[in-house]
C-alpha cells in the first residue's frame, strides 16, 4: 500500500497560481481594450483618447472615439466573455466538447428570428433586431434541449444531432428568404455577418445586465456543473438535482448567447474554441473554467475586432469571419494535440 502524499488536497491547491494567471489575463484585456480605442482607420494618441472620454468637445476625433470606438471596445469583450461562458456550460451540459452555441443552432436560430422580425413585422432598428435575436437564441435553446430530452435523456450525441439539424434548417431558411428578397439582404447583411462596428453605446449598456446575470448564474452553478461531467446516475447519487441544475444552466446559456447575438450578431467559433483554451489553462474545475473562459473569450473577440480593422485595410472585415478562421485553426491544433 503506497503512502498518502499528505499535502496535495488539504486545501484547494489552485488558488495561488491561478490568481496570477487571472491577473495577467485581466491586464492583457485592459491593454487590448485601450488598443481598441487607439487603433483603426485612424490612430489616436493616449492624450486624444483621454480628452475624448473626459472632456468631450464635439470635435471629429472625439466623436469617432466616443461614438464609434468606445462602444466596440466595451461590446467586444462582453460578447466574448458571454460566448466563452455559454460555451463552457453547453459543453458540460451536452457532455460533448464539440458542442457550442454555434453547433446547437443558437446563432442560426437568432438569425432566423431576425429575418422573420424584419420580413413579417418590418422591424428595422438595431434594438428591435436585437430583441428578436435574443428571443431566437432563447427559443432555439429550449427547442433543442427539449427535443433532445424528450427523445430519451440528454445524451451527448443526441443533443448535437438535434442542434446541428436545427442549425441547418434555420440557416437554409434564412438563405432562401434572403435570396428571394434582396432588399432585406442589404439591410441585414451587416448584422448577419457578425460585427461590432456601428453599434450604439446603448446597445452595449442594454446587453450588460443580461451578461452579468447570466455569468453570475453560471458561476453559482459551478460546483454542480463539476458533477454534471459524470453520468446521470453518479451525479444524482452525489445529490445533484439534475432537472434544476440543467434548467438554470439553460437559462444562463440563453441569457448569455442571446445577449451576445443581440449585440454583435453571430460571432462564430468563440463558444466552441474558448472553453478548450480555458480548460487547457485551468483544468476542469468549473469555477476556474468559467472565469478563465470569460477572460479568454473577452481577449479573443477584442483582439479579433482589432485585427478585423486591418486585414483588408482600409475596409473592415466582419469580426465573425476572423473568429471563425482563427478559431478553426486553433481547434485543429487543440484536437491534434489531444489525439497525440
Amino acid at each position: 500500500m503506497p503512502l498518502a502524499s499528505s499535502t496535495t488536497s488539504n486545501r484547494a491547491p489552485w488558488r495561488i497560481g491561478q490568481r496570477a494567471l487571472f491577473l495577467l489575463l485581466g491586464a492583457s484585456l485592459l491593454v487590448l481594450m485601450y488598443l481598441s480605442l487607439a487603433l483603426g482607420y485612424r490612430l489616436y494618441a493616449p492624450t486624444e483618447i483621454w480628452g475624448a472620454l473626459t472632456a468631450f468637445d464635439g470635435s471629429e476625433t472625439d466623436v469617432v472615439i466616443r461614438d464609434l470606438r468606445l462602444p466596440r471596445a466595451l461590446m467586444a469583450p462582453m460578447v466574448g466573455a458571454a460566448l466563452g461562458i455559454a460555451g463552457v456550460l453547453v459543453q458540460t451540459l451536452a457532455r460533448n466538447r464539440i458542442a457550442s452555441p454555434d453547433t446547437l443552432g443558437l446563432n442560426a436560430g437568432a438569425a432566423f428570428a431576425v429575418v422573420m422580425a424584419s420580413g413579417i413585422f418590418g422591424v428595422a432598428s438595431l434594438p428591435g433586431l436585437s430583441v428578436a435575436a435574443a428571443a431566437g437564441a432563447l427559443g432555439t435553446s429550449f427547442i433543442v434541449f427539449g427535443l433532445a430530452a424528450a427523445a430519451g435523456g440528454i445524451s451527448p450525441l443526441r443533443i448535437v444531432l438535434v442542434g446541428v439539424t436545427f442549425a441547418g434548417l434555420f440557416d437554409s431558411f434564412v438563405n432562401v428568404v434572403l435570396t428571394v428578397n434582396e432588399t432585406m439582404l442589404d439591410q441585414l447583411l451587416f448584422w448577419l455577418a457578425g460585427s461590432f462596428a456601428d453599434r450604439k453605446i446603448e446597445l452595449a449598456l442594454n446587453g450588460l445586465p443580461f451578461v452579468l446575470v447570466g455569468g453570475v448564474l453560471a458561476f453559482s452553478l459551478a460546483r454542480s456543473l463539476d458533477i454534471l461531467q459524470t453520468d446521470d446516475s453518479t451525479a444524482r447519487g452525489l445529490g445533484v438535482p439534475l432537472g434544476v441544475v440543467r434548467g438554470l444552466s439553460f437559462v444562463s446559456v440563453a441569457l448569455l448567447s442571446g445577449a451576445a447575438v443581440a449585440m454583435a450578431g453571430p460571432v462564430l467559433f468563440v463558444g466552441l474554441v474558448v472553453p478548450h483554451a480555458a480548460r487547457a489553462l485551468v483544468g476542469l474545475d468549473h469555477r476556474l473554467q468559467i472565469v478563465a473562459a470569460a477572460l479568454v473569450g473577452a481577449l479573443y473577440t477584442t483582439l479579433a475586432d482589432i485585427v478585423a480593422r486591418f486585414v483588408i485595410y482600409p475596409r473592415e472585415a466582419p469580426v465573425g469571419a476572423i473568429t471563425a478562421i482563427v478559431g478553426g485553426c486553433l481547434l485543429l491544433v487543440l484536437l491534434r494535440r489531444r489525439a497525440a
Binding site: 500500500m1 496535495t8 460546483r223 454542480s224 453520468d231 446516475s233
Partner: protein, 271 residues
C-alpha cells in the same frame, strides 16, 4: 438485527412494465448484503430505488426510522453513496479531481471547501490504494485502477451505506477479487453497510454476509449463503441444474452449473 434500510411493499414500474412487485427487505447494518438473480430480475432496480433513483409506484423505503422520500437530495447523498453501473467521467479529469467530487453533498455555496474535505479525500485514496495515482488522468488508467478510483470517490462521500451496482462487471478475475476484497475491508474496518449487486453467484456466495435471491421482480429467498444456497433454490431462481459443494479454500458454498433446466426460455444475455 439492526436495520440500516428497510424496504416495505415496494413496487416500481417503468411505464406499463412492473420491475419490482411488492418487495419487502431489511438491509442489516454493518453487513455486506448481496442482491443476486438472473438478468432482468430487478436487482439493479431495487438497488437504485434504495438510492431513490427510481420513484416507487407504491410502498416506502426507510433509512433507519426516516422515510427517504422526505430527505433532501444532498441529505440523502450524505447517508447513501452509489457506485453506478458503468460510471463515466471525462478522460482528462485527474484521479484527485474525480475523488474530490465525492465531497459535493458535504459542501455548500458558503462553505465550498473545508479541511474535512481534504482529509476525506486523502483517506479515501489511501484506503483504496490510489494515492500514488492522484495526478493521473482517468483515461490513462487500467480498468482495475479506474474501478478503485470510483470506489474512492464513493468512499470520500463518507456515507454509512454504500451501494455498488455490478462493480466487477468488466474486470478480469484478479481484479474482481481485488475489488471485492477492498469492499470487504471497507466494511470490516470502517463498519460501512454495503449493498452489492452481483450476478456471479459464486462471488456473491463468497462475499455476502447476507444473500438475497430475486426473480421476476420479487424476492425469492434471503439468508446467510451457507444455509441459503441449495441446489433446488438455484434451479428455481436461475433455471439451471447444478451441484453445490463447499469451496475447499474459503468454506463457502460453491455452485457448479450443469445444464440449463428450462431450455425453452433463456433470459436475454447482456453480459
Amino acid at each position: 438485527m439492526d436495520k440500516a434500510i428497510s424496504v416495505r411493499a415496494l413496487t416500481v414500474a417503468y411505464g406499463a412494465t412492473t420491475a419490482l412487485d411488492s418487495v419487502d427487505l431489511g438491509i442489516p447494518k454493518g453487513k455486506i448484503t448481496v442482491l443476486a438473480g438472473p438478468n432482468g430480475c430487478g436487482k439493479s432496480t431495487l438497488l437504485r430505488a434504495i438510492r431513490r433513483l427510481h420513484q416507487p409506484k407504491s410502498g416506502d423505503i426507510h433509512l433507519g426510522d426516516v422515510p427517504i422520500s422526505g430527505l433532501k437530495e444532498k441529505e440523502l447523498a450524505r447517508h447513501i453513496g452509489l457506485l453506478a453501473q458503468n460510471p463515466s467521467a471525462p478522460d482528462d479529469m485527474s484521479v484527485e479531481e474525480l475523488v474530490r467530487l465525492g465531497r459535493y453533498p458535504h459542501q455548500t455555496m458558503l462553505q465550498p471547501w473545508s479541511a474535512a474535505d481534504g482529509e476525506a479525500i486523502q483517506a479515501a485514496m489511501f484506503g483504496t490504494g490510489v494515492s500514488h495515482l492522484a495526478d493521473r488522468r482517468l483515461g490513462s488508467l487500467s480498468g482495475g485502477q479506474l474501478q478503485r478510483v470510483w470506489i474512492a470517490m464513493v468512499l470520500a462521500q463518507e456515507t454509512d451505506v454504500i451501494c455498488l451496482d455490478e462493480p466487477v462487471n468488466h474486470l478480469d478475475m484478479a481484479h474482481q477479487i481485488d475489488c471485492l476484497d477492498l469492499v470487504t475491508r471497507l466494511n470490516r474496518e470502517h463498519g460501512r453497510t454495503v449493498v452489492l449487486v452481483l450476478h456471479d453467484l459464486n462471488l456473491a456466495a463468497r462475499y455476502a454476509d447476507r444473500l438475497v435471491f430475486m426473480k421476476g421482480g420479487g424476492l425469492v429467498a434471503e439468508g446467510e449463503p451457507d444455509t441459503l444456497m441449495s441446489e433446488a433454490l438455484i434451479e428455481d431462481v436461475f433455471g439451471i441444474s447444478c451441484r453445490v459443494i463447499v469451496d475447499p479454500v474459503h468454506q463457502r458454498p460453491l455452485c457448479i452449473p450443469i445444464r440449463n433446466s428450462t431450455p425453452r426460455f433463456r433470459p436475454e444475455q447482456t453480459a
